[in-house]
């Protein structure tokens, strides 16, 4: 036994429904037995210990928990983990490679696009979804795409600059 105390149930509760799911998270298949009421954000944070996905408001307002679900941004506090069975999820941990930051992360660094950093993971994934669809966005496009993500520090100015910086860099790299 690896721990000094392990609580065991006297009898298994047959009323608790459990589902086995396999979700591709940041390119790697992860399997788990979960209760269907588990939210995707909690699976990522508590189950898979990917705490880069932040929970801010927990009421579908702030966008801090944004992840990419099959490439499109979703608020992971407003989706059941069981719904991700067989799908691809990308979190902020999946942006950088071991040797290099993603251009969006670099942009946030260069343009000082964060202060406390709490909203940043959601901002970066929403920005990634935008740039995949529209590699050459205007400032308005960026503001529009990030309008579901709240930041209480920056006043958004530098976040918008960071995304535009990343867009420039990604376009330059793709030529």
């Amino acid at each position: 036994m690896s721990s000094l105390f392990e609580e065991v149930q006297t009898q298994p509760n047959a009323d608790i429904p459990v589902r086995r799911v396999t979700i591709n998270v940041n390119g790697e298949d992860r399997s788990a037995n979960i209760e269907p009421r588990l939210l995707l954000a909690d699976l990522l944070r508590q189950g898979l210990k990917l705490t880069g996905t932040h929970k801010g408001c927990d009421t579908t307002s702030c966008g801090a928990c944004t992840v990419l679900f099959d490439g499109r941004p979703v608020k992971s506090c407003t989706m059941l983990a069981v719904q991700a069975d067989g799908h691809n999820v990308q979190t902020v941990e999946g942006l950088a490679t071991p040797s290099e930051l993603h251009p969006i992360q670099e942009g946030f660094k260069q343009e000082h696009g964060l202060q406390c950093g709490f909203c940043t993971p959601g901002m970066m994934l929403a920005a990634k979804a935008l740039l995949e669809r529209n590699p050459n966005p205007t400032e308005d496009d960026v503001r529009w795409a990030l309008s579901g993500n709240l930041c209480r520090c920056t006043g958004y100015q530098n976040i918008v600059k960071a995304v535009l910086w990343a867009a420039d860099k990604m376009r330059a790299e793709s030529i």
């Binding site: 939210l39 927990d58 966008g63 608020k75 407003t78 059941l80 579901g148």
Partner: protein, 289 residues
């Protein structure tokens, strides 16, 4: 926040989903986009014994125009699919105008048009749009399909006309008589907030002459306000400053706004009047297609 405990099923066909709903005898909820249902589960306003997730049922994500111009929107069409559809932009201006104003961009990737209509929130953008467009909902149950006119579909706040064993499988917008024109305007304090007031206008036009006019309001009453009768004043008339001003007064009088932290009732009524005028003026200056 955790929802209360429920069983989860993800059927692969509509028939299978209906059988599950039928067996649950009213203790099941349908999960489509989940952008209203999941928050309600988390707040425990809703605590169904079972969720029937329809996301894995094929054939429900169509946006199609029939040859005559009738528009079909499947139960799994997300808001953003309408927002980015070139066909919608070209042929259905009221929906094209409303789509980018629904909730926020991230909610729009998941939330569905039909789910929003079924949710029957008095603030809902799509219920107002459907009323203005004279749409109907096609529902399927154990005994087959039936059609419910939008004006009969919403029974009250968060209450729709579906039986417990029925699924809304698509929304249908009838073909325009002439050229489809219209718009949607919403005043909100910030993106994603409930509307202070919003106005849906749908016109069928022949040049500058109105063949059919539909209007509906959200955010200015305990339910979606059906102002189609007031809008019908325009039928057979040209859009002029005088007719626009008159119908804007009629529609504004139909609103039932309440004073709250979003504004006074007079203010909200004035917003409705202004929005009706703005949308109609924009149509009257457009060249005939």
């Amino acid at each position: 926040m955790y929802p209360s405990r429920f069983k989860y099923e993800s059927p692969k066909s509509i028939e299978e989903a209906i059988a599950l709903l039928d067996a649950a005898k009213g203790d099941a909820k349908i999960l489509a986009g989940g952008q209203s249902l999941v928050p309600m589960l988390k707040l425990r306003f809703a605590f169904p014994e079972q969720l029937v997730d329809i996301n894995n049922i094929p054939g429900l994500n169509h946006i199609t125009f029939d040859a005559d111009g009738t528009l079909h929107i499947g139960a799994l069409v997300r808001h953003e699919e309408l927002e980015f559809s070139k066909e919608i932009a070209a042929k259905q201006p009221t929906i094209a105008a409303a789509a980018p104003l629904v909730a926020d961009p991230i909610v729009r990737t998941r939330g569905t048009f039909v789910g929003s209509v079924c949710h029957a929130d008095p603030q809902g953008d799509w219920a107002a749009t459907m009323i203005a467009l004279g749409g109907h909902v096609v529902v399927q149950g154990p005994k087959g399909k039936r059609t419910i006119e939008m004006k009969d579909f919403v029974l009250g706040p968060y209450a729709n006309a579906l039986n417990y064993n029925e699924i809304a499988i698509e929304a249908v917008i009838p073909a325009p008589k002439g050229v489809a024109r219209g718009g949607y305007l919403k005043l909100e304090r910030r993106v994603g907030d409930f509307a202070t007031a919003s106005v849906a206008v749908a016109l069928d036009m022949d040049g500058n002459r109105v063949l059919r006019a539909g209007m509906a309001l959200a955010g200015v009453g305990g339910k979606t306000i059906d102002a189609n009768e007031e809008a019908s004043y325009l039928v057979g008339k040209e859009l002029t400053e005088a007719t626009i001003s008159h119908v804007a007064d009629l529609v504004a009088a139909k609103a039932e706004p309440k004073t709250d932290h979003r504004g006074s009732s007079e203010y909200k009524r004035q917003i409705v009047r202004t929005f009706v005028k703005r949308i109609l003026l924009a149509q009257s200056t457009q060249k005939a297609a």
